[in-house]
């Protein structure tokens, strides 16, 4: 029995290492010089720590700017989408507006829409109103997309909100607006913070619509810059591993910072 347990454990550890192996390969090769790579291939250990490849790639894509763009877009979307979600869900879950089930169903359906069916009209409309190739267009679009999910989720969370707390606040003379910000938001904060983290990461990872909307270098996000470059097949081996490393690092940082929120909130993400 113990033998079998240990065998299963060993197997799981091996599988986990296999899963992590690509990350290790990327890290090893991103710090190799092109000559080292050419001579010893991708599997050998680097002969020396060669950071020039990463620096060159950073400058080539103006990576600092891309990081800033991604942060502005994902951060704005996370805050705005959580705000819109809680306000809409307040009316649906606590206000119990008539027809709320239909409205919630429509938001659920909105959440299912593939971006392919929205992308061309959005591209066309953005050009018509002068928002094409602006971060604002992407922020508006993903605030709508993420808040469709947030509304659907929060409406059901708020439907079970303790009624006696709401009644008590009303008896104290709080208006609807005050009840929302001073009672509902603080008490729902654990759920809202999970949504904030997920909206940030989901938006950070988006590619299709940002690629269509943001054509100028100054506006592109990290995934758009890396994806377009990869799609053009113009990178050599070391540039490609540097690109992979720079793309992986922010994700790993988020993962380490938010690990607890992510695993705690994964039940929330499950519904998406």
């Amino acid at each position: 029995m113990t033998l079998r347990r240990n065998l299963v454990l060993a197997l799981l550890v091996v599988l986990a290492l296999v899963t992590l192996f690509p990350f290790l390969l990327v890290a090893l090769n991103a710090v190799k010089s092109p000559a080292d790579y050419a001579a010893n291939g991708p599997l050998g250990l680097p002969e020396s720590l060669h950071l020039q490849g990463i620096v060159d790639f950073w400058n080539r894509v103006d990576f600092g700017l891309k990081l800033a763009n991604s942060t502005v877009i994902a951060g704005s979307v996370a805050v705005l989408a959580v705000g819109v979600s809680i306000v809409t869900a307040y009316a649906l879950g606590i206000g119990r507006i008539r027809g709320r089930l239909w409205i919630v169903a429509v938001f659920l359906l909105a959440n299912l829409m593939p971006q392919e069916v929205l992308v061309y009209p959005l591209y066309y409309l953005a050009k018509e109103v002068g928002l094409y190739d602006t971060k604002l267009a992407v922020i508006i679009i993903f605030t709508a997309v993420q808040s469709a999910f947030g509304t659907y989720l929060l409406a059901s969370v708020l439907a079970t909100f303790p009624r006696e707390i709401l009644e008590a606040a009303r008896i104290d003379g709080a208006s609807r607006w005050q009840v929302l910000w001073r009672v509902v938001v603080p008490i729902s904060w654990p759920t809202l913070s999970v949504l904030l983290v997920f909206f940030f990461i989901w938006t950070w990872n988006e590619f299709f619509i940002p690629m269509i909307m943001l054509i100028s270098n100054d506006n592109q996000t990290v995934p758009v810059a890396l994806g377009v470059l990869q799609g053009q097949r113009l990178m050599d081996a070391t540039a490609q591993s540097a690109s992979a490393l720079l793309g992986i690092l922010p994700a790993v940082v988020f993962f380490l910072i938010f690990q607890r929120t992510l695993t705690r909130g994964i039940a929330v993400g499950a519904i998406r």
Binding site: L9, L11, P22, V106, A144, L226
Partner: protein, 311 residues
């Protein structure tokens, strides 16, 4: 879901007059959400359906052609191949990860979690890490590993003396789809694993003890105790992963651009090509509309099956 507070008994309903007044007081709160929904989702969706009945290059005025695009579409071999490829992606993103995730989650839960809780969370984190990456970055990583000349996959095979096994993984019609599928399994596996592990904590240990007393094998326990107990999780994972597979654009864009010879094309990528590369906007819109109809229909079927199983 641990985040939910328990519902208290509902207070008696307010008299109808008051209720209606209160009802209206909340209406302004709907404005931002509904406005965004209308502008970003409802109107573009309607426009896309309308465009699909036209012949349009994206400039000038569209020509109404009725159902012509759909007629062409259903006779278009590229479209059917892209759908067949999509089925393969569903296998790689929904079926295989669900099955493997179930095995790994039960193994981790049964064998490791009670004795080594730290090891369990480390292993879970390791399997989940690819899920946090932008799909594009996962594509860059694997595009590099699978490169025919300087990639690690072929280097590893040569190192093992298996030179004849080396392939142009993503560039050969015979291996491209399988390679993409393998990458998708790597990306996707952590998601069902984490969900199933959360679900397993809900299962009553007495059920396992009873099964053990009855002399059930590990397999029998998996299929007759675990799977029925976490059926809601299995449903959610299958549904969300299937939908995600139907929407596969970014991984295809980065890994293969639908090639070689359309062998990894998907409806999603095919619609993109028609919209933005071939300026065949009406046709692209028809593909996107059919894709949407399939996703909505599938969701409806899944939800109905789920509610039937749980009376």
């Amino acid at each position: 879901m641990a985040l939910l507070t328990k519902a208290p008994p509902r207070p008696p309903a307010a008299p109808p007059g008051r209720a209606r007044r209160r009802d209206r007081g909340y209406l302004p709160y709907l404005i931002p959400g509904v406005l965004l929904f209308v502008v970003v989702i409802a109107i573009p969706l309607g426009m896309n359906v309308a465009i699909s009945f036209t012949e349009w290059q994206g400039v000038g005025s569209p020509d109404w052609v009725g159902l012509e695009q759909y007629r062409t579409l259903f006779a278009d071999e590229t479209f059917w191949i892209s759908f067949r490829n999509n089925l393969a992606l569903i296998v790689a993103m929904a079926v295989v990860p669900t099955f493997l995730g179930l095995l790994l989650a039960t193994a981790l839960f049964d064998v490791v979690s009670k004795r080594h809780p730290r090891t369990t969370s480390t292993l879970r984190a390791a399997f989940y890490l690819p899920q946090v990456l932008p799909a594009v970055v996962a594509g860059v990583v694997w595009g590099w590993i699978l490169h025919p000349e300087y990639g690690s996959a072929n280097a590893l095979l040569r190192f093992l003396g298996l030179d004849s096994w080396t392939q142009n993984w993503l560039g050969d019609e015979n291996t491209a789809l399988l390679s993409v599928m393998a990458v998708l399994v790597w990306i996707q596996l952590g998601y069902p694993l984490v969900i199933f592990m959360a679900g397993l904590q809900r299962v009553d240990p007495e059920l396992y003890e009873a099964a053990e007393l009855d002399g059930a094998s590990w397999w029998q326990r998996l299929w007759s105790v675990t799977v029925p107990q976490i059926r809601p999780e299995v449903f959610v994972v299958l549904l969300t992963c299937t939908i995600a597979a139907l929407k596969s654009f970014d991984k295809i864009f980065v890994l293969t651009r639908g090639g070689p010879g359309g062998s990894t094309n998907t409806p999603s990528y095919f619609s993109f090509q028609n919209f933005f590369e071939k300026a065949n906007v009406g046709y692209g819109a028809a593909i996107a509309t059919v894709l949407t109809a399939i996703i909505v229909g599938l969701t409806f079927l899944f939800l109905r099956a789920q509610s039937r199983r749980e009376p």
